[in-house]
């Protein structure tokens, strides 16, 4: 079970398990993003490299225009694999 939707303040809310079978949906949702945005991981239990790749691609595209994603409320397992991948160097993580 995975879901992605916009929150009341324009943030992106992820929930459930973001595995490789859901990345096209995430890509579709993020491709129209053209300004800085917070991505809320509060309800996200799991992510793999497929979902991380979509976030990275979005970050690169936004950076070219002076914008960025801020990732918030990651659980400790996701925070750890983001650290292993060096994502803490390329994203603002709160």
């Amino acid at each position: 079970m995975f879901d992605i939707r916009k929150g009341a303040n324009g943030e992106i809310l992820l929930s459930g398990r973001l595995d490789a079978s859901h990345v096209e949906r995430v890509r579709d949702e993020l491709k129209s993003l053209d300004t800085s945005c917070r991505v809320d991981f509060t309800s996200l239990d799991y992510i793999s490299s497929a979902g991380m790749g979509v976030l990275l691609g979005t970050q690169k595209r936004l950076a070219d225009r002076g914008h960025s994603l801020t990732l918030v409320n990651l659980n400790r397992h996701i925070r750890e694999i983001f650290r292993i991948a060096g994502f803490d160097n390329v994203f603002s993580i709160e």
Binding site: D19, A20, L56, Q59, I81, I84
Partner: protein, 134 residues
């Protein structure tokens, strides 16, 4: 427990049910379960994208002493050694990053041992996670 899965991303749902049942039976904590799911998804999706060979991959899960042992068998697969890929540079800045490569880096990081052999036309990948002190 050994189960076979069609080499397709649609298999991820039943694959996670399989690992979830095993984790519940073994009473794994959420750190072990997360590492097991991540390593299995990364290797399975690699086999879906690049493996060639048969359309079926078998995955075995077993607790052997203090270790979780995960064994993939992919009949007819081409030779691709996940233990011999270039080291991943996690310090690269955003502008130097390209897609790919991080999945196997994560597998090597969350597992304690990764072994590969290609014999009689079959690829076999064995992952070991120490359950104590994890």
């Amino acid at each position: 427990m050994v189960r076979s899965f069609k080499r397709d991303l649609s298999s991820l749902e039943p694959l996670f049910e399989f690992t979830g049942d095993f984790a519940a039976t073994q009473r794994f904590d959420d750190a072990i379960t997360f590492a097991m799911n991540l390593a299995i998804e990364e290797l399975f999706t690699n086999m879906v994208k690049y493996g060639g060979g048969d359309d079926i991959v078998s995955i075995g899960l077993e607790v052997r002493g203090d270790d979780l042992v995960i064994e993939f068998v992919h009949p007819g697969a081409g030779e691709f050694d996940p233990t011999a890929t270039a080291p991943f540079d996690a310090a690269r800045p955003l502008e130097a990053r390209e897609p790919g490569g991080v999945g196997l880096h994560l597998v090597r990081s969350v597992m304690d041992e990764v072994a590969y052999e290609h014999t009689n036309g079959d690829a076999r990948v064995t992952l070991v996670k120490h359950l104590r002190g994890a």
